[in-house]
Symmetry: C2
Subunit: 242 residues, 2 copies
């Protein structure tokens, strides 16, 4: 994987004296707020030499070779710094690298995506939640972050069709109608109550707690995620997405 002659700029064996791309990590952080899917963005600084000054961007930054053990730790650190959340659902999304995506030079970013419950920790000063109107964000993002965000949403929607991922967007205790609502928000289409309940309950992913949610109508059973934090994969998608 390394050490072979790949071009003029790479010298003889063992020689590491050639230009290296910039290496960054970015995190797409999703949460359900106000009955809709929202993403956490930061405002870029306005300093001299800064690319995309004052633009909106995904939270992220350079890998710190002194501080970060590995990429996942770097992503977890950035998530923690921005949201205070320490143990969320964090999955690698992919990487984007090219000569032109950053005006400062060849750069590659490792993108992660995180799902956190609404009322998690304290938000950083420069971070704000943004919602999608019609499945799209209104504002333009710095770098290729718009593309990365679009990929993240696509991946999330896709996986929600056949996995229990939305469970990671829920508070500690929730009802089945709550969970179904989150599925519907992410998929942006209604689901059948009966089929939904059958699927979730037979997946052995949640367990009832000895409490009910009371309201102006029939109370609903409260559930919590089972210990095994692994997401569940269903053998069918929800709808034949025609």
């Amino acid at each position: 994987m390394a050490g072979e002659a790949t071009g003029k700029s790479v010298g003889k064996s063992g020689d590491l004296d050639f230009p290296r791309p910039l290496t960054t990590v970015d995190v797409v952080i999703f949460a359900i707020r106000d009955d809709s899917l929202q993403v956490l963005l930061v405002r870029r600084p306005a300093g001299e030499g800064e690319p995309f000054p004052e633009s909106l961007a995904l939270p992220g930054g350079f890998v710190d070779v002194a501080k970060d053990r590995d990429l996942a730790a770097c992503a977890a650190r950035k998530l923690r710094e921005k949201t205070g959340v320490t143990s969320p659902y964090l999955e690698q999304l992919g990487s984007w690298g090219s000569a032109t995506r950053d005006p400062r030079g060849w750069s590659a970013t490792h993108a992660y995506f995180a799902l956190i419950p609404e009322k998690a920790g304290e938000l950083a000063a420069d971070a704000r939640w943004f919602l999608f109107s019609g499945g799209r964000l209104k504002e333009k993002l710095a770098f290729d972050h718009g593309e990365i965000l679009a990929t993240a949403i696509q991946r999330l929607r896709n996986k929600v069709e056949y996995t229990s991922l939305p469970a990671y967007l829920m508070p500690a205790e929730f009802t089945l109608p709550d969970l179904q609502r989150v599925y519907e928000i992410v998929l942006d289409r209604p689901l059948e109550k009966s089929a939904f309940r059958t699927r979730i309950l037979s997946a052995d992913m949640i367990e009832p707690v000895a409490k009910m949610r009371r309201g102006p109508n029939r109370p609903a059973q409260l559930y919590r995620l089972k210990k095994g934090r692994e997401p569940v994969y269903f053998v069918r998608t929800f709808n034949p997405p025609e």
Copy 2:
């Protein structure tokens, strides 16, 4: 994603004078040969200062900021250099980065995986095919390439359950029993003939050519992939993988 203060080693805004990780790209190349799934590996050089001298490794190497437009182009170039194949199925697998995976320092690799037909182009001198015995490779690989390879196999097996990916492992013309055999090789379990045919034929991914494969028994219809090269996603997996 960049430019914020992330630690002592990162200076003030716009300052890019801090240590950068090494950036590489590695490619996991699969093909069906001799009725089994095989992967292309290279022998690492023995020069002084080379990590893992003479070990087996995935084909790959440093990103060449002068030569490579982007990561995908870099992966395609490495695939072409090793196999002569120019338009295969090439998908990003993920990235691995840490302080310790390469003894030369903090490094991050962008891993891709490729599916190519058996009798594709000319193999590079240092490259050889290796097969899995019992789903595992016998030899140890350099760096964390064993882990990357395991992830690739897992991803391939997983996707074969509900996609048409094995079609990219086929020659230009093939029969349905041929294709079923490739599914079975990758999944390492037999599939039902009838359900298999129904699924594939209703997926509208292949079309018959006006030829039959003849043998010492009933001839089989030959098919080819339809133009639209996108993989097909089925709404169910093959077996409830209990």
